[in-house]
Symmetry: C2
């Protein structure tokens, strides 16, 4: 064995053991959100904190540095090995800036804030959440300072989810997107509105569950390498590319809740199941960025899962599951209903257009929280103010307002913008898929999603973190992120649904 | 803060972090046996191995030794602190004998053997399990050599489950127990046999599940500090005293399978839920020994759960759940049926008498495997031979023979004898509970188990590992383990059921 091979093996072995610890932490998190008995919260919090601290300690140990420095100087690594080392070195330098004790403290604060969010939601009162959340915000500000940034501390946060993502870039993106969406929304407002009352009839829980599983199977979610469970807030997690877990929630009086969360998480899960197994624990075994991750979920949820072609196959099946609530509904009515555009209170239930206003509101609030111009206590009032300003809706209570998302309780500041960016990527990818594979829609109408998966398995999944979001997008679609694809997609779609030229 | 207080805090903090890692490993194990998708096996195996290795590395680090040595010399520790330090020092010295790499290797071999046991069982063929099992056995022999022992290498194995337990002690116990049981069995054989066919009728899965949950609630299993799930082999595990998980399995054509496994695991779980929360991660927060643990499960399963008094309350409820299969069954018939004595193939389904022959067979085989006089490949033939010799039954296949128990696949050699010893402890505790609290049976007839729990909460649970099995038994019952209590208990019980003086 050459010296380089030996060293690379040592590096791989080290990184994989660290991944084992991180994935173990992810199992504990998953369990916490699905099955943990309530009194287990405290011990679970410390267990997760200990694993975070340990993983961080091991990753930032001198041994990691010396291995990486030696490997950075080798010129007999292959291209993928070289890229792994580069990315690990980047990660190392970044992580080195955070003391392990800080990582533990953050993990503990996040656990506390998560549980207080759960109770605050149950009691429909932000007050209980305010202090634990401010603690998390203060730690995030400290984190930004430790990591360093240029221009805006929030850049350090966004960089965690999509390397290089900045306030400048995102502000610019929203300043293109939002006016265009406003024009479209105004056009829609002037047209006769579509009806979606039938989605709010009674849909039996167990049958919904079975239908969700069918949808996941149709997407080729591999149930031998994953599973679905129930949680408060749907999410996807993974403990290897062969153990990918999605969760959903079921509302018997709102069929859409389960269905599109199921397809959404399924999109995330296909990406995780498609990442290269041989790179377990190494950067190339990880997803590119959360923007690209979200492009996968939004591609399936919206471009595919809210298309007429998709439901041409699934609607008859759905009707056979739920003959009663869908008695007088045909495909056309259904398709229009599931795409009804209307300003609303809940982000995860929003249509494809107003969704971005929900994201914008969170993005604006987060920037202010991280720069310190507002505090946790100011959230409810600014939230309600923005909802009236941007969406014209009055927020009746915190549960349907600033307590609706789990993200802040998890300390995930800087995350939300990737939802909008991911949607834009999705439309751009969808455009390329259809251009490069002309039978995509035709097959989709027969329930065949193989062409879509084939394309993703060639253009997105195998690269892991090899390319940046931008490079991956260029490689797959021939250009950088271009909001026009999304704008064209929604204009075309909603002009047809709302009958205007 | 005094120097001792400071040092003790450091020790506690260190041990608790190590416990976090171990409990995280237990969560991963639990998930592996309940929810893990099949392709996740490999990654899960390495994740568990990494956590075992890490916990061992941290526990056997020099820092642990120096802390313990300093604390051993302090004379201003309170009694409980002192005992924690002594026990940790004992654990440290023992663990120090095993290299962390050996711990990892063992964990990996056990994972492999566990999964091969699952497939071998599914295929009903020992062949597939033979080699992975032999690997585990070889590692166990190596472990015995590393740990050291006097007289017999199997003593090192038994010591892991009940400190100080030896082959000499156990041989002696069986040589008292088995002849007495044989006499009783022969007496029973000469009497008219009881009928239990009704237990093998059709019992709906979901209703069984609900009934099991009811039984657990009646025992005061705290569902806010635990839960029940389904697994291949029922077990109890815990991740703190406030997160205790039991599992069960349900056979629609064998009502007893779920019921008594549920009560059995419930007994284990009450013990774990009753251990002192404030001693999280420290020896006094741990159970005394597996013999005492088993005394808790067998107490509930048999002394209580197979008593007529218990079913006086539960049988009417059971009948209302299952009116059909129990149509012509009254309490007397039911009580006799669930206590039917008959030599059988499956340990977990055995009656209270023949059970000990099942244990004896495993104990004898294990001794031979560990001393090296037989190999893994010899197991099926010796197993079948012993079943014919001790129980007079012909083993038709491996699934109902040597593949029935999970223990060997887990590397749990030295464990089985604690099942018999636990049963003897249980009878002795049951005798004391009834002597000390005369209303125990009277209350049990009305479904009230509070007196039992009260006694256990005063005499067993709060001590953790403070006392040895023997000391704890003496404290609680006034004498050391005395097989006469069990022998009297079964003689009285089965003389009445089988109508002989």
């Amino acid at each position: 064995m050459s010296n380089t091979t030996q060293l690379y093996l040592e590096y791989k072995n080290r990184l994989q053991k660290i991944a084992d610890i991180k994935y173990a932490g992810a199992v504990l998190q998953w369990d916490q959100e699905t099955y943990l008995p309530i009194k287990g919260n405290d011990a679970r919090g410390r267990q997760i904190a200990t694993l975070s601290e340990l993983a961080h300690e091991q990753f930032t140990a001198e041994k990691t540095e010396s291995l990486l420095l030696e490997l950075l100087n080798k010129n007999d690594l292959d291209e993928r090995q070289k890229r792994n080392i580069e990315l690990s070195w980047y990660d190392y330098q970044k992580n080195k800036k955070l003391p392990s004790s800080f990582v533990r403290k953050s993990s503990e604060a996040i656990n506390k804030s998560f549980h207080s969010w759960i109770s605050a939601r149950a009691e429909n009162s932000f007050a209980k959440f305010e202090k634990p959340l401010q603690e998390v915000i203060d730690l995030k500000k400290e984190e930004a300072a430790l990591l360093g940034y240029s221009d805006h501390p929030y850049n350090a946060m966004m960089n965690e989810y999509d390397t290089g993502l900045t306030v400048a870039f995102t502000d610019n993106l929203f300043s293109t997107l939002i006016p265009q969406l406003s024009i479209l929304l105004n056009q829609i407002k002037r047209q006769p509105q579509v009806n979606n009352d039938f989605l709010l009839k009674h849909f039996d829980k167990n049958i919904q569950w079975d239908f969700g599983i069918e949808l996941l199977k149709n997407m080729h979610f591999d149930f031998e390498a994953g599973r679905q469970d129930i949680s408060e807030h749907p999410f996807t997690t993974n403990f290897s590319s062969e153990d990918v877990r999605v969760t959903t929630r079921i509302d018997e009086n709102d069929f859409g809740n389960m269905t599109w969360s199921c397809i959404h998480e399924g999109g995330h899960a296909l990406y995780e199941q498609g990442l290269p197994k041989s790179e377990y624990g190494l950067p190339l075994g990880e997803y590119c960025s959360l923007s690209i991750h979200e492009s996968q979920s939004r591609l399936w949820e919206n471009c595919i899962g809210r298309s007429k072609s998709y439901w041409e196959y699934h609607f008859p099946k759905l009707k056979s599951h739920f003959p009663d609530p869908l008695k007088n509904v045909n495909l056309d009515l259904f398709y229009k209903g599931i795409n009804k555009v209307t300003p609303s209170l809940i982000r995860t239930e929003a249509d494809e257009l107003t969704y971005h206003f929900h994201v914008l509101i969170r993005y604006e609030i987060e920037k202010k929280l991280i720069e310190g111009s507002i505090q946790s206590k100011d959230i409810p009032s600014i939230w309600n103010e923005y909802y009236e300003k941007y969406l014209g809706v009055i927020v009746p209570d915190d549960k349907r307002g600033c307590l609706q998302d789990v993200h802040w309780s998890h300390g995930s500041f800087g995350y939300f913008a990737t939802y909008s960016i991911g949607s834009l990527y999705a439309a751009q990818l969808w455009n390329s898929i259809n251009n490069q594979q002309v039978k995509t829609i035709e097959n989709l109408k027969t329930g065949d999603t193989n062409l879509i998966l084939y394309w993703l398995r060639h253009n997105i999944f195998p690269f892991g973190r090899f390319f940046s979001s931008d490079k991956l997008c260029q490689k797959a679609t021939g250009e950088s992120l271009n909001a026009e694809h999304f704008i064209n997609y929604v204009n075309k779609k909603f002009q047809s649904i709302y009958n205007f030229p």
